[in-house]
């Protein structure tokens, strides 16, 4: 399976929350996408995301470094669908972006908080804009 590579130093720099002006407009819990860094391998990350999708009863489609996870039941604005995109800086340093591809943003944030974040605890180094939490 082809990975998305080719991230460079400027991609790292653009992770900085100081360069992300969306904070001027929305609170963190209103955002439609979140990012985290991981020191795990690509397969370890995709495996974990696959488990989460299964628990949430989301159908998974993989295209290279992109995992599309789609729900079937309709919510307020249609079924929730989440895209997980994995980028490689080095084989043991990845960036994962989770974004809502359809459905209700509030539902997306709720799912993230209740189901996704706790399940990802083992592989997340740090969520964007936050320092690494020593556990």
């Amino acid at each position: 399976m082809a990975k998305l590579t080719n991230l460079n130093a400027f991609d790292i720099i653009s992770l900085s929350s100081g360069f992300d002006l969306s904070g001027l407009f929305v609170e963190n819990d209103e955002k439609k996408e979140v990012q985290f860094t991981s020191t795990h391998t690509f397969s370890s990350i995709t495996s974990k995301l696959g488990d989460i999708a299964q628990n949430l009863k989301l159908k998974v489609k993989k295209q290279g470094g992109l995992m599309k996870m789609e729900g079937t039941s309709g919510g307020r604005k249609g079924a929730l669908a989440i895209d997980a995109e994995i980028f490689e800086f080095t084989p043991s340093f990845h960036l994962v972006e989770l974004r809502k591809s359809s459905g209700d943003t509030l539902e997306f944030q709720k799912t993230l908080k209740q189901d996704v974040r706790p399940a990802l605890k083992d592989i997340v180094w740090a969520w964007q804009g936050q320092p690494h939490q020593q556990s």
Partner: protein, 226 residues
């Protein structure tokens, strides 16, 4: 000799006087929304909505109709306890009058560059200046390293120096086509046109919805609907 000193003193006084006048004349308030709309990508309604946001941010610490560095940090990070090399750079670029505070005009003109409809050349120019820490017209390798290390430190990430150097090597190999150890505007432009994701932070989709996020302008619109 004494005349010289006197002359100098007068010169100095008038320069100081000039600075004082500038500081007092920082315009406050909405200013001319139609002018701003003409000179930015915003519509008049969007300018008025943006002003609502500006008022919110600028009254957070000192209610003086101006955004100072602390209020800017508060708006960005929801805390004024966070210092950031990058937020400082952004603030400095917004602050075109270089007086340490942002009036509404500076705020609106800078945010215009982040609008989805803003010309890509403006975004390329702004991002280049952002990364050119020492403002010498080049993005140097040392500046890139400083920014990479600062970003990684923010998330508590400790990559070894070797790994950081190799990531920067790879970046310069691709970006520095003139092989002079630094990235000039032309090289930056080529790089971002090949990697559009590098300009991701230069577009704020939220600006498209600003009239719905800040609707109170409807009640005190200063523009005639003729």
């Amino acid at each position: 000799m004494l005349q010289c000193l006197d002359g100098l003193k007068h010169l100095f006084a008038s320069v100081l006087h000039c600075c004082d006048i500038d500081l007092y004349k920082q315009p406050r308030g909405l200013g001319d929304p139609e002018l701003l709309a003409r000179e930015t990508v915003f519509s008049v309604s969007e300018i008025e909505a943006l002003y609502e946001l500006f008022k919110k941010i600028s009254s957070a610490v000192i209610d003086d109709g101006l955004i100072n560095k602390e209020e800017f940090q508060l708006a960005l990070f929801k805390t004024n306890k966070k210092e950031s090399l990058f937020a400082d750079r952004v603030f400095d670029l917004f602050d075109t009058k270089h007086n340490g505070i942002l009036g509404f005009e500076e705020f609106a003109r800078a945010l215009s560059v982040f609008h989805p409809n803003a010309p890509i050349d403006d975004k390329i120019e702004f991002s280049f200046q952002l990364y050119d820490l020492k403002q010498q017209g080049y993005i140097e390798r040392q500046e890139v390293k400083q920014m990479v290390v600062a970003t990684l430190a923010e998330s508590g990430m400790n990559l070894s120096d070797d790994v950081i150097e190799s990531i920067i090597d790879k970046t310069f190999e691709e970006a520095d086509t003139k092989h002079d150890g630094r990235i000039d505007k032309e090289e930056w432009r080529s790089l971002v046109l090949r990697h559009p994701s590098l300009l991701k932070n230069m577009t704020l989709q939220y600006l498209k919805d600003i009239t719905t996020t800040f609707p109170s302008f409807v009640f005190h619109s200063q523009v005639d609907d003729t």
